[in-house]
């Protein structure tokens, strides 16, 4: 098939960006979206131009590196799919495809489609863990965990930290990302001990990073490639209120 691509090009964080238009002939429907960009990049290199920069690594939908907005949707038109797992059979001959980086104040552009998502790391660093040193663990079967509870924690833990939730949100809020971690650890008995401290610390860091607030648009859930539910946001809100009003723990 033949495609027209409008791609955001920006040489660095401080330079002004704009869209460039490229024509691609002979795109196979079996290609992944990123393989289609690989082909374009090879053509640019052959013309001695700078190829389009984009973050990518595993190409199996699990590392969370790939991050682009395709025709207005983070990770493109297919639900539950990262960009790397999106295949060209979902596009038609003659389509024009607009490709932009994930846009948010807290995700500054590095180059072209590459953004800096280290804010997510810093949110985890303030409390997204269980404080257990290596060697301190008891036998793994010492605390039974109900199958459904473990499964709920797992659902929240499948977050790949890609940031599509932020890119999808009109407020660029990181509530879905943060609440997924708060839920994952808060649901399990191993993580409950620290849950009051954790939720306060993570919410505080989230705000400091410049992410917006949640106004229940739920676009985050719709665009999340792993189907993380907004129930996690409700759970985090409950935990936060419970922690601030119902405990003596305070993270300042």
């Amino acid at each position: 098939m033949k495609l027209t691509l409008k791609v955001w090009r920006q040489a660095s964080a401080n330079k002004k960006g704009s869209f460039s238009t490229y024509q691609l002939d002979d795109v196979s429907e079996h290609m992944s979206f990123l393989e289609m960009l690989d082909v374009l990049n090879e053509q640019l290199i052959a013309k001695k131009e700078m190829p389009i920069s984009f973050d990518h690594d595993c190409r199996e939908g699990i590392c969370g590196a790939c991050s682009m907005v395709i025709n207005g949707q983070p990770h493109g038109p297919m639900g539950g799919t990262t960009t790397c797992q999106l295949h060209m059979r979902h596009f038609k001959n003659g389509d024009t495809i607009v490709i932009e980086p994930f846009r948010a104040k807290a995700f500054p552009v590095v180059r072209d489609l590459v953004v800096d998502r280290s804010a997510f790391d810093r949110i985890i660093q303030v409390g997204g863990f269980v404080s257990v040193n290596t060697g301190q663990a008891q036998d793994a079967n010492a605390i039974p965990v109900e199958k459904d509870v473990a499964s709920q924690a797992f659902d929240a833990a499948t977050c790949i930290g890609c940031g599509a939730c932020v890119a999808a949100c009109p407020n660029a809020s990181a509530m879905l990302f943060t609440s997924a971690k708060v839920s994952h650890l808060g649901i399990l008995p191993q993580g409950k001990v620290e849950s009051t401290r954790r939720v306060q610390a993570m919410v505080k860091q989230m705000d400091e990073e410049g992410f917006g607030n949640c106004s229940n648009v739920t676009a985050c859930e719709a665009e999340c490639p792993k189907g993380i539910s907004v129930e996690n946001i409700a759970r985090m809100n409950r935990a936060y209120i419970g922690s601030v009003l119902g405990s003596e723990t305070s993270v300042s």
Binding site: E35, C63, V114, T134
Partner: protein, 666 residues
């Protein structure tokens, strides 16, 4: 050079316990003065950096990713082995040890492997304490499944995302140490050289990938946890950015590369579909618990399927050859990876392949759907269920077990694997070879350690499924924190090293020269095109089966390709910017040197064992023919540069507990 494994004396079961009780320690007040560099943040690197930080060392940790959580351990699907014997099915530390030695075709060190089996149990405890949501049964206790090459259920799993959950656990432990200040994290920094001072590893040179700045970092020792070299083959299940450069730069500074020809070809991957293909996707080995592998018995049926005139569903039961069940009745579809891969190749070479390229076999879940469907109907009290009900209930059970894998298969191929049998073909997946290390995980360069897939130590000539996660975490959480004391206890009075010292400046200059060299060629071919050509040479001549003539000509081709690279590669942009093409160029340059050593090693090893199959050495039935009298050794290669022939050093393997037998899964 005499290579000493340094396996402690004593009986097999006591070696590690005694070692731990007698290893020299570094006191807490001295740990605070000691700096350690950890390169890589996969399971091995993240767990090592976190644990060393917890112990009180000052750790600097490097990754080329934008976040430590993106390391490729995250993509591991099926599970992690541990000798917990929670299923009461006869498992034990010794059995895990024995399975691993046998699975590795008797080419690994007994002492190392037994230690791995011992600490496997601690890993599960640790992961659960961190909040890793492993699968559980209705009683709330941990569930297990089976993997290839074993007859017990010892694999712990978190749906098809076990690697992700374990890596997130290690990443969170690492994040905690970053917040506490014991680990300083350097994202988007790629290690480009090792710095040696007085023969010991004392630092690294790294490129800040955002700015291109070349930076010098000093420490008392350096730990490499930088993964394997599967991407030498261009197409593999590795992530796009996986590379051998950190390990290879260590080799260029004197470390030895051990058993590089031992590469694992995984039997169940989604077949190649076109020339533009950038990588291959694994379908977890866990699928072979329930999937049956087959090809048509008749050549004309296979041809009709390839031409799209028939599908797998059109082939009657009696016209199918479930060749693994036929050839290996004891293990059936769960034979080890090397055996399953070669059998698939044999079937396709005979013209029985089922994809348009002729390179695919079926992995069929119809029988499992029926079996589970009947059982589920029974549980629900449905007597005499009709076929549609059985199928519906059975598909639901299969979905619970493998849902995300089936979904991924459908996304990539556009075919529904619940209805049509999957098509699969072997692909490069893992590398058993790696930097030579002793029992302490220390290379022959003092102060330079290698963990996880980056070292060669535990899997011999073939790794069993669900053992990579086990080894990465064993090395990082439970081995290096002890063994690093053997080196550092002599360094408690050594002041911090000056990154402006002579050795650092010299290494920095060497890196800058190398970058300048690839940038200044300004030829006409892309880095990618060279990588693709290298991959094809390696796959054709040093892949699933190898012979002396092919290997000799392949070596010549790789040498020629390398020359051409430095005459005609085009790398756009400059060093002073975010430039992924430049990163790739440096990596491909190293792959081309590594490829040559892999070929040499394959040529030298005149036997077939594990993932290394030399056509000249096979039994009449086409099974691998090992030659223990001559080749029961670790082949460790020194490589100093293009002008000198790589030098082979041998470490003889001692088997005091296990009797060397022909590996049989029949």
């Amino acid at each position: 050079m005499k290579l000493e494994g340094k396996v402690p004396p004593g009986s097999l079961g006591e070696k590690w316990t005694k070692f731990k009780s007698t290893v020299p320690l570094v006191a807490p007040n001295n740990k605070r003065r000691i700096e350690i560099i950890v390169v890589g943040t996969g399971l091995a690197g993240a767990s090592a950096a976190a644990t060393l930080g917890e112990l009180g060392y000052n750790v600097k940790c490097f990754t080329f990713h934008d976040s430590p959580r993106r390391a490729h351990s995250i993509a591991a699907q099926g599970g992690i082995n541990a000798a917990k014997n929670y299923q009461n099915d006869g498992d034990s530390v010794y059995r895990l040890f024995y399975d691993t030695i046998k699975g590795g075709d008797y080419r690994s060190r007994e002492g190392n492997v037994h230690r791995l089996a011992e600490v496997s149990r601690n890993i599960i405890d640790q992961a659960v304490a961190q909040g890793v949501p492993f699968a559980r049964d209705y009683g709330g206790l941990l569930d297990n499944r089976s993997f290839g090459g074993v007859q017990v259920s010892r694999t712990f799993y978190a749906r098809g995302q076990t690697g992700q959950q374990l890596l997130i656990g290690a990443y969170q432990a690492l994040s905690r140490q970053i917040a506490l200040g014991s680990v300083q994290m350097y994202n988007r920094h790629e290690m480009l050289d090792i710095v040696k001072v007085d023969g010991k590893a004392r630092g690294i040179i790294a490129r800040n990938l955002l700015t291109g700045e070349i930076e010098r970092y000093a420490a008392h020792c350096v730990v490499l946890a930088t993964g394997g070299y599967g991407n030498v083959f261009y197409l593999s299940t590795n992530a796009m950015n996986c590379n051998v450069s950190a390990a290879w730069r260590a080799v260029r500074r004197g470390a030895l590369m051990a058993n590089p020809c031992f590469t694992q070809i995984h039997p169940t991957c989604i077949p190649v579909s076109g020339d533009y293909q950038s990588k291959l996707t694994l379908m977890s080995e866990s699928l072979r618990n329930d999937g049956r592998v087959w090809v048509p018995k008749k050549l004309e049926d296979a041809k009709a399927i390839r031409e799209g005139k028939k599908t797998g569903l059109d082939i009657a039961e009696e016209d199918r050859d479930y060749y693994l069940e036929r050839r290996y009745p004891a293990f059936g579809n769960l034979v080890p990876r090397d055996v399953a891969s070669r059998a698939a190749k044999v079937a396709c070479d005979e013209g029985l392949g089922v994809s348009p390229t002729g390179l695919a076999v079926f992995l069929d879940f119809a029988a499992a759907v029926q079996r589970y469907g009947k059982s589920a109907a029974n549980v629900q009290g449905i007597h005499n269920p009709d076929a549609a009900t059985i199928t519906r209930l059975g598909e639901k059970v299969v979905e619970e077990k493998y849902g995300n894998l089936f979904e991924m298969y459908e996304k990539i191929t556009g075919e529904n694997p619940y209805k049509m049998p999957m098509k699969i073909y072997p692909a490069v997946h893992y590398t058993m070879g790696g930097l030579w290390v002793d029992y302490n995980l220390e290379t022959n360069v003092p102060g330079l350690f290698a963990l996880g897939e980056a070292n060669f130590s535990d899997h011999g000539a073939n790794r069993l499924g669900a053992s990579a996660l086990m080894q990465g975490l064993a090395d990082g959480y439970f081995v290096i924190p002890y063994t690093i004391g053997t080196f550092l206890s002599n360094d408690i009075r050594t002041p911090n090293f000056d990154p402006d010292g002579e050795a650092f400046m010299e290494a920095e200059k060497a890196v800058k020269d190398r970058i300048e060299q690839v940038l200044s060629v300004k030829g006409s071919q892309s880095v990618e095109s060279f990588h693709r050509r290298l991959g094809k040479i390696m796959w054709d001549y040093c892949g699933m089966s190898r012979n002396a003539d092919g290997l000799r000509s392949a070596r010549q081709m790789v040498v020629e390709l390398r020359k051409e690279f430095y005459q005609d590669v085009f790398v756009p942009g400059s060093n002073d910017e975010y430039n992924p093409e430049l990163e790739k160029a440096l990596r491909v340059a190293d792959f081309m040197e590594m490829g040559e050593v892999m070929i040499l090693d394959a040529l030298n090893r005149e036997e077939s064992c594990g993932g290394h199959f030399r056509e000249e050495y096979q039994t009449e039935e086409g099974e691998a023919l090992r030659r223990d009298d001559e080749f029961a050794y670790v082949a460790a290669w020194a490589y100093t540069g293009w002008d000198e022939e790589p030098v082979l050093h041998k470490e003889e393997l001692m088997f005091e507990n296990v009797e060397l037998k022909t590996r049989s899964y029949k």
